[in-house]
Symmetry: C2
Subunit: 91 residues, 2 copies
């Protein structure tokens, strides 16, 4: 049986594929797919950041191909987890 | 209610604290605490890597203080998630 950490790791991959496999390039998120992921999976983080989808795209799309690949998506998750860790010490 | 992605993010912080808060410095894992985390939370990844606890420490302890802090722990989780993502495309 997978541990909590292993489940979390699996989940990060599953969430990315949930949106990347809905059409277009299977290994990358279009702006539309990425916008849906932000809205459906991390709306609280997105709202708090006060950034728009194009602003997030600009920040994360390191290779500037107009898509968010898995490694670029991981930058988003790192930002989320660092913020959540900081918040956990404010509580 | 938290989404799957938010749960995964929370989980990464919880797993770190589960071991860091068992004694000593609350914001960092001693070699012993880190060894327990590797054994209990990601034994499959650890075995596959064929690395010992001291080898993992050497690789992750960027500031070389003899402890694994939260950011250093995130490097481990990134390695796990990148490996899991690659494996998902081999299946």
């Amino acid at each position: 049986m997978a541990t909590k950490l292993e489940c979390a790791i699996n989940c990060l991959v599953e969430v990315f594929h949930k949106y990347s496999l809905t059409g277009g390039h299977p290994h990358a998120l279009s702006r539309e797919q990425f916008g849906k992921l932000l809205e459906k999976e991390c709306s609280e983080f997105t709202k708090k950041s006060k950034k728009t989808v194009p602003e997030f795209m600009k920040e994360l799309d390191i290779n500037q191909d107009g898509f968010i690949n898995f490694e670029e998506f991981l930058i988003l998750t790192l930002k989320m987890v660092i913020e959540h860790h900081e918040d956990s010490h404010k509580e």
